[in-house]
């Protein structure tokens, strides 16, 4: 299967085509996608665009959902 290169917090990872950003974040060994209002580390919960726990910055756009966004070549993903 073709692999797509992208970066997560500056770290280069390769994911199978068709992967979502949340999968790339896990592959980069990044545990959390965001921190809550009280500073708790959070990661995807619902996996289907409902809970907003997986929101990350993608190519400079804040609050993108990692579980519903497909990985694209050269994408820059930043967790908060």
């Amino acid at each position: 299967m073709p692999e797509i290169p992208l970066t997560v917090n500056g770290l280069r990872v390769h994911v199978p085509a068709g992967s979502v950003v949340a999968a790339a974040i896990a592959l980069a060994n990044v545990t959390s996608t965001r921190h809550s209002v009280n500073g708790e580390a959070r990661a995807p919960l619902c996996g289907m665009g409902v809970c907003f726990e997986c929101r990350v910055t993608i190519n400079g756009h804040a609050h993108m959902l990692g579980c519903q966004t497909l990985c694209e070549e050269g994408m820059e993903v930043i967790t908060t």
């Binding site: 809550s36 619902c46 996996g47 809970c51 579980c67």
Partner: protein, 422 residues
């Protein structure tokens, strides 16, 4: 403002939406099918035609990929501009879609119950974990505990095992006697029995416990272990992921915002799947949890009815009634036990968006009061997670939904206004 006009607009491209689209398109109508995911298929046929594994998935996904049906992927409804016009947000900006008939097939989400440690990374919905694994999350060799209730637990455990995960345990909260009765009901439907037998075979080696439920999850930076209660006994299991499935709840927010009547958490429809709002139909899990077979039937009926194919719709009524009966049996077999209302400790968070704890919420009497005083339900998910939880924990009913129906970019909201001025 970019504007499209169609005869039938369908929101949600899961099984109900796909069935509605192809049934409506058969009349010659121009159909638009919209979904917030990158591909059609919904949760159950996630990934679309390319990843379809069953004949039925291929059948419906193929029938909905014709020229008469325009698919708007990664598109969310923001609001109703006026009757017959919805404002939607696509990856490239906002646009308006005008329609004659609207079919809502917004599906369901998982019910999450708060327990100590449920906010740790690694604690997920059972369907949610399955969805992410389908989306490339590496799972081979990972230790997984599955907790909750209902046939989804078994399906998810079998799926994860098939992907190389080490499923440690399935903890089902219902009793063996209820499970037994459900098994008897399954045996009356050859198709459902075959599915169950195939799942049972794929599950071999995974312990299944009834009368068992999650007590807490622990870990420093992420999940490391869970404690499961069975009667008076508690046991701990080291694990990498906890998959929680406490049943599904209909997604009724859009229907509610459009003025459709919601009762018992589901969109109310007549025999043609039409809501109280003329020209607005609803099909699938949003009308009440009933599973794939019922969603396909309701979708077809809605698609036929919305395009005047009355006889074709009527021909499916009795099959729909059979599936609805099965759905009622399913709901009673896996009704959630009262002990699950007392898993949270005072400091356990209930609202994850605004970090509002169980102890703080206990001081309030209503959803509205809690919202106003604590910001519970006022974060990005707009109460979709904690509203469902507090409805089970405290019996609170969420208020009506106001636009925007989902989180929207400011640019999408001001777009309409600018356009009017031009």
């Amino acid at each position: 403002m970019s504007q499209q006009a169609v005869d039938v607009l369908i929101v949600g491209a899961g099984p109900a939406g796909l069935a509605a689209a192809s049934s409506a398109a058969g009349s010659g109508a121009r159909v638009a099918l919209m979904d917030d995911n990158p591909t059609a298929g919904g949760q159950i046929w996630r990934g679309g035609l390319e990843h379809a594994t069953t004949t039925r998935a291929r059948h419906w996904l193929t029938h909905a990929s014709t020229e008469a049906i325009t698919l708007y992927a990664r598109t969310r409804v923001i609001s109703q501009v006026q009757p017959g016009v919805l404002l939607v947000e696509t990856p490239t900006g906002a646009r308006e879609i005008c329609f004659q008939q609207l079919i809502l097939a917004s599906g369901a989400r998982e019910r999450f119950l708060p327990f100590p440690g449920w906010t740790l990374p690694g604690v997920m919905g059972a369907g949610g974990l399955q969805a992410l694994v389908k989306g490339g999350l590496p799972i081979a060799g990972k230790r997984i505990v599955v907790v909750g209730s209902g046939p989804l637990l078994i399906a998810v455990a079998a799926f994860l095992k098939g992907k190389g995960a080490r499923v440690q345990l399935i903890a089902e909260q219902t009793s063996w006697s209820r499970l037994g009765r459900f098994g008897l009901q399954l045996s009356r439907s050859a198709g459902k029995l075959r599915q169950a037998q195939s799942l049972g075979w794929r599950l071999r080696g995974i312990p299944l416990r009834a009368n068992s439920w999650i007590k807490k999850a622990q870990g420093s930076e992420r999940l490391e272990m869970v404690t499961v209660q069975r009667g008076k006994r508690v046991e701990t299991f080291p694990c990498d992921y906890l998959a929680c499935g406490f049943g599904l709840v209909p997604n009724t927010e859009l229907a509610s915002a459009l003025g459709c009547v919601i009762e018992h958490g589901a969109v109310q429809v007549d025999e043609r799947q039409q809501t109280n709002c003329p020209g607005i139909f609803c099909a699938g899990e949003a009308t009440g949890i009933g599973g794939l077979d019922l969603a396909l039937l309701e979708g077809q009926i809605a698609g036929f009815a919305a395009t005047g194919q009355t006889e074709a719709a009527r021909a499916l009524f009795s099959a729909r009634e059979r599936e609805r009966r099965f759905a009622r049996q399913l709901a009673s077999s896996f009704a959630l036990r009262d002990e699950l209302k007392h898993l949270a400790e005072p400091e356990t968070l209930v609202c994850r968006c605004e970090d509002v704890s169980y102890g703080v919420l206990q001081e309030h009497l209503t959803w509205r009061g809690a919202k106003l005083q604590t910001r519970c339900g006022m974060g990005p998910c707009q109460g979709r997670i904690c509203g469902t939880a507090t409805s089970f924990l405290f019996g609170w009913t969420p208020d009506s939904v106001r636009p925007p129906v989902t989180v929207a970019r400011i640019a999408s909201l001001v777009y309409t206004h600018e356009d009017q001025e031009e």
